[in-house]
């Protein structure tokens, strides 16, 4: 299943406007304004100016919050997005309710306590973002993430992503343990024309205790598809 562009000209539009470029502009803009995000539960809230609103929308970070405030736009970032912006792109400070900045270690601990699989999820998110894929939450399709080749306005998401862990606390995510899990997930993915992509994150013994594990993990990409012999009788390339 290849990319499904939305209408004519979308592919060309995407090509002319690389995602890496948009993310870079966003990074510069946030750095310049010394951006601060407020950590609240498992969400980080951020008030964006007009330019940043445009860039966040174009780079697909966060979710705009509807409010009566006219001049500024509030955004809410998921944990993975927030950490990616703050510690990978280094353009967002995360603060608590007293405006105290939280360091990477603290945020990591916080987020891990909110969700025990956070390290694997973050690594998976970062892995795809590093390759300039657009990564959005996947709960709408019963998966962990969905991955787009470019902005969702131009293209349908290509992969439904599940994150599995390999290592000490193996498969805490609890997905894909039995065949019916595969049948269910693949059936659903198929009906929305997405390929199931399983990302297996191995902590290589670090236990993901501290953010330093970001140097020692390994990740594997594997698609799982239902293979239909009926449709591949003639063509060895389809096997």
């Amino acid at each position: 299943m290849g990319p499904r562009w939305k209408g004519k000209g979308s592919e060309a539009k995407a090509l002319a406007d690389p995602m890496s470029n948009t993310v870079f502009q966003l990074q510069s803009s946030l750095t310049q304004s010394d951006a601060q995000g407020l950590l609240s539960g498992s969400t980080v809230l951020y008030q964006a100016d007009e330019e940043q609103t445009d860039l966040l929308n174009r780079a697909c970070f966060g979710r705009p919050i509807l409010s009566a405030e006219k001049d500024k736009q509030w955004f809410q970032f998921g944990m993975e997005e927030a950490l990616y912006l703050s510690y990978h792109l280094n353009c967002l400070k995360i603060v608590d309710g007293q405006d105290c900045e939280k360091n990477f270690q603290e945020v990591w601990k916080d987020m891990k306590s909110q969700k025990s699989t956070f390290p694997e999820f973050y690594i998976a998110y970062r892995h795809l973002r590093l390759k300039n894929w657009v990564v959005r939450p996947g709960s709408q399709y019963g998966v962990d993430f969905v991955a787009y080749r470019h902005h969702p306005a131009l293209v349908h998401s290509e992969f439904a992503v599940l994150v599995l862990s390999k290592g000490e606390g193996s498969n805490e995510n609890g997905r894909l343990r039995v065949w019916s899990d595969f049948l269910c997930t693949i059936r659903l993915c198929g009906s929305v024309a997405k390929t199931l992509l399983v990302l297996t994150v191995n902590d290589n013994g670090s236990g993901f205790v501290s953010p330093s594990c970001l140097d020692s993990y390994s990740i594997e990409e594997r698609t799982v598809t239902r293979w239909s012999p009926e449709q591949c009788r003639e063509n060895p390339a389809k096997v």
Binding site: R4, L15, P18, M19, S20, L128, K131, N132, W133, A147, R149, H150, H156, F159, L164, K166, L176, R177, V178, W179, D181, F182, L183, I186, G190, S191, V192, A193, L197, T200, E220, E221, R222, T223, V224, T225, R226, W227, S228, P229, E230, C232, R233, E234, N235, P236, V239
Partner: protein, 265 residues
């Protein structure tokens, strides 16, 4: 009436028509009161074979029709059929099976033989075989040479495993019996390939089958672990592996493909 409503509500989205059609087909298959009935091509002329209990195989006495170019292994000028193949041929009416005393064996007798099989997954194995054979694929037992000639030609799958080496030497000593004991010994506890499968084409030769297009692993209950998949990937010499799951006569094949998403601009 209801069907039309559904069709108009979900058929409009572009891009997933194929899947949608498949869903409808599956749905109908399930709803069909008589259950899942395959369309069989019944044969007019049946061949004859004699069951050999010691070998757990049938020796073909009289072969009719072209089906034998892709069925049965050749040893010492004779064709032998494993129990799956035998059962399949009887089901489609292409084989008349005799017992050692030349009395006729019925379909029921053969079903009973399958049920008595030492390996508890023989029926599921048969269902996979039947599924692929019905679609015209050429299906051989994994690592069992189609003929002695194919061993000499070295065109079978030859990875240095003990099963294979033992198999080959047994073939050479023409000790048929122990080959087949060996077949039984292939443990289904581990995830191992059971069939080597060739796409339907008329160039298939038992004497030089070449590499199969894919191999099939039957899984027991649980999906293959990451480790299982990796081990098989290392030993399969690039031949695609399909993982099979059988439930209620429904055969599902899956690919677990290692991929690398491209780095986008």
């Amino acid at each position: 009436m209801e069907a039309t409503v559904w069709e108009s509500s979900s058929g409009g989205a572009s891009g997933y028509d194929d899947n949608y059609a498949q869903d409808i087909k599956d749905e109908e298959e399930c709803l069909c009161a008589s259950g899942y009935l395959r369309k069989l091509q019944f044969r007019k002329h049946a061949s004859t074979a004699r069951w050999n209990d010691q070998m757990g195989m049938a020796e073909v006495l009289e072969n009719k029709g072209s089906l034998w170019t892709t069925t049965g292994i050749v040893r010492c000028g004779k064709i032998y059929c494993s129990i799956e193949k035998t059962l399949f041929l009887i089901e489609v009416g292409a084989l008349h099976l005799l017992d050692h005393d030349n009395s006729s064996l019925s379909l029921k007798d053969v079903y009973k033989k399958v049920a008595e099989g030492k390996n508890g997954y023989l029926w599921e194995q048969f269902e996979v075989y039947r599924h692929l054979k019905s679609l015209g694929f050429t299906v051989g037992k994994h690592k069992v040479p189609w003929s002695l000639k194919s061993v000499r030609n070295g065109s079978d799958i030859s990875s240095p495993s003990s099963i294979e080496n033992k198999g080959a030497s047994d073939v050479k000593s023409e000790d048929e019996r122990s080959i087949f004991e060996l077949l039984d010994a292939i443990q289904l506890d581990e995830v191992t390939p059971i069939f080597d499968v060739f796409l339907p084409h008329n160039k298939f030769r038992k004497s030089s089958p070449g590499d199969p297009n894919f191999m099939v692993c039957l899984t027991r209950g649980y999906p293959p672990s990451k480790k299982d998949i990796e081990v098989l990937e290392r030993t399969s010499r690039g031949i695609p592996m399909k993982y099979c799951y059988v439930e209620h006569g429904r055969v599902c094949l899956f690919s677990f493909d290692n991929v690398e998403l491209p780095i986008l601009p």
